[in-house]
């Protein structure tokens, strides 16, 4: 295995534990926004999609790359926007 793969694995494992620690503290009332918001984060694949789409590697790769950018951006923008819309609705009781 190459150095970079080992380094990647180390990061992957540590980030998994970090994720578990962070998510365990999110209250159930926010579980839906948590899912849509973390979903938007997984749209980070857009970085890979942009590289592939822009690299001019022949038409098949460019078409695949273009579609990948579209799907990833749907994921990113759709995810963040809908999460924002939901979170805007969560209100505390007004003090009377």
């Amino acid at each position: 295995m190459s150095e970079s793969l080992i380094g990647g694995l180390v990061i992957f494992v540590l980030a998994t534990f970090l994720g578990a620690a962070l998510i365990g503290r999110v209250p159930p009332t926010l579980h839906t926004p948590l899912m849509s918001g973390s979903n938007a984060i997984s749209g980070i694949t857009v970085v890979g999609a942009l590289i592939v789409a822009g690299a001019g590697l022949g038409w098949i790769s460019t078409v695949l790359g273009f579609l990948a950018v579209v799907f990833a951006m749907l994921n990113v923008v759709g995810g963040y926007a809908v999460t924002d819309r939901m979170l805007l609705m969560f209100k505390k009781e007004e003090k009377r």
Binding site: P28, M35, I41, T45, G48, F90
Partner: protein
């Protein structure tokens, strides 16, 4: 931008994602957390555009515009009751993106007759496999939730065997692809096709009410697929973000399984609810239910000091959340107290009820978790059950022969009186009788929940 600067900028993006998730720990800071996370994404996209060699800017720009535009439109127009479908679709899009990037990377090397190093090869195959399963699995979950296809489990003989054989075939083909020195395209296409098929096969046997677990799990897969893509293109921000999302989805699906007292394997392969109504030890024979009119229910509610609302998927179907809030305000005006008891698996996705009630302007501090509300149930004057069934079935506590025995429930039957809003006496998702309905303290208010509540509201106003 040189490679080192690029990596540092990606690190900043990863930190912003983590801070964003951290701020989701309280509804007060959650919205700003989402914005912080979005800023991280913006930074990552800009850094990529500045550092990557973009030879076809028009393609990239078109992709960005189309994806963002459609995504934004979907997010603005989707109805809150359709949120589970929306999240399922978004999961699928993430999976599709990973599949496509993996595919493009593979074809690039193959078409240029480059030998792919074995470790990159493995991560490409994983990225294809997980991305494809996430994509078609999410589409099936969407179709079930949207009721384009039946929400009932679809099972056929030797289903699990077929899936297992297909997984083995994928492993075999991938290994062959990695080992052979020839430049072959057919194993690649075969792996993609079989993985897409597997996504369908894995989700069709799962019933509608188990969707919270499936959506959480697909969420996790979309994260893992992104992380695999990160390995393929050797980019740490993808690995970090993918791993964060991957563990988030796993934790949520564990919470859901625990709330149903079932293992993940049972949810995924158990085809729960496929067999239809089961003969529970306690049958309904000889027992009678007491049906009441909206007027009676209104009197009961109007003079109650403490009311607990227990919503379920039926509230979402009937769009009754606004009527519920109106009743809450009427009772409060008359000096009573109203709380909401939320079971972790009420609805079709984690937190589904909370979002619907938030949409109806119910303050989130009125919503209580199952473990917090249960000790108070004995002091509750009226428990009003709206479109929930299995999560309030006392059989889960007492009837050892019940399929849901051992599942934690909201103790509606401990309340001084109970009103159940229900369309008919049809059994719940698990297909079992609910002795709560035959309890002498229970009154059944039959009909569409929204219409019933609207009648109750006008009755209370006249009192």
């Amino acid at each position: 931008m040189n490679r080192a600067t690029e990596q540092l900028v990606y690190l900043v993006a990863a930190i912003l994602f983590i801070v964003g998730l951290q701020r989701l720990q309280s509804p007060a800071t959650a919205r700003s957390g989402n914005a912080v996370s979005g800023l991280g994404m913006l930074i990552a996209v800009i850094a990529t555009l500045l550092s990557a060699e973009i030879l076809s800017p028009s393609v990239v720009l078109a992709g960005l515009v189309v994806g963002s535009g459609v995504g934004y439109w979907m997010a603005r127009t989707v109805r809150m009751t359709s949120m589970p479908q929306m999240v399922a679709l978004l999961n699928g899009f993430g999976g599709a993106a990973s599949l496509l990037v993996g595919g493009a990377e593979f074809l690039k090397s193959e078409l240029h007759a480059e030998q792919i190093p074995i470790d990159t090869g493995i991560t490409i195959q994983l990225s294809l496999f997980i991305g494809a399963i996430t994509f078609t699995g999410s589409l099936i979950a969407w179709a079930k939730l949207q009721e384009v296809m039946t929400g009932k489990p679809i099972v056929f003989p030797a289903q699990k065997l077929l899936s297992a054989l297909l997984v083995l075939t994928v492993v075999g083909l991938s290994t062959y692809q990695l080992m052979t020195a020839e430049s072959l395209l057919w194993p690649f296409y075969a792996v993609c096709a079989i993985s897409l098929l597997l996504g369908i096969l894995l989700v069709i046997p799962i019933g509608g009410a188990d969707m919270p677990v499936v959506i959480a799990l697909l969420n996790s897969y979309s994260g893992i697929a992104a992380a695999m893509t990160g390995f393929v293109i050797d980019n740490s921000v993808l690995i970090i973000s993918g791993a964060l999302v991957g563990s988030s989805g796993i934790i949520l699906s564990q919470i859901m399984c625990k709330a149903m007292n079932r293992s993940l394997a049972n949810v995924l392969f158990g085809a729960f609810g496929a067999a239809g109504p089961k003969g529970s030890a306690k049958s309904a024979a000889g027992l009678s239910v007491r049906s009441v009119t909206p007027e009676d229910a209104a009197i009961q509610l109007a003079y109650a000091q403490s009311v607990v609302v227990i919503p379920g998927y039926g509230m979402a179907v009937a769009q009754a959340q606004h009527a519920v809030r109106e009743i809450q305000e009427l009772i409060e005006k008359r000096g009573g107290e109203v709380k909401y008891a939320i079971h972790p698996v009420a609805g079709r996705m984690p937190g589904h009820m909370n979002v619907l009630l938030a949409e109806a302007n119910v303050p989130y501090d009125k919503l209580r978790e199952m473990d917090d509300i249960n000790p108070e149930m004995e002091r509750c004057d009226v428990a009003i059950v709206i479109g929930a069934n299995d999560v309030v079935n006392p059989g889960a506590r007492t009837d050892q022969s019940s399929p849901i025995f051992g599942m934690p429930i909201i103790n509606a039957d401990y309340a001084k009186s109970i009103i159940v809003l229900k369309r008919s006496m049809a059994a719940g998702f698990a297909g079992i009788e609910n002795e709560l309905f035959y309890n002498p303290k229970t009154s059944m208010l039959f009909g569409d929940a929204k219409q019933s509540l609207t009648k109750v509201i006008s009755e209370i106003k006249q009192l």
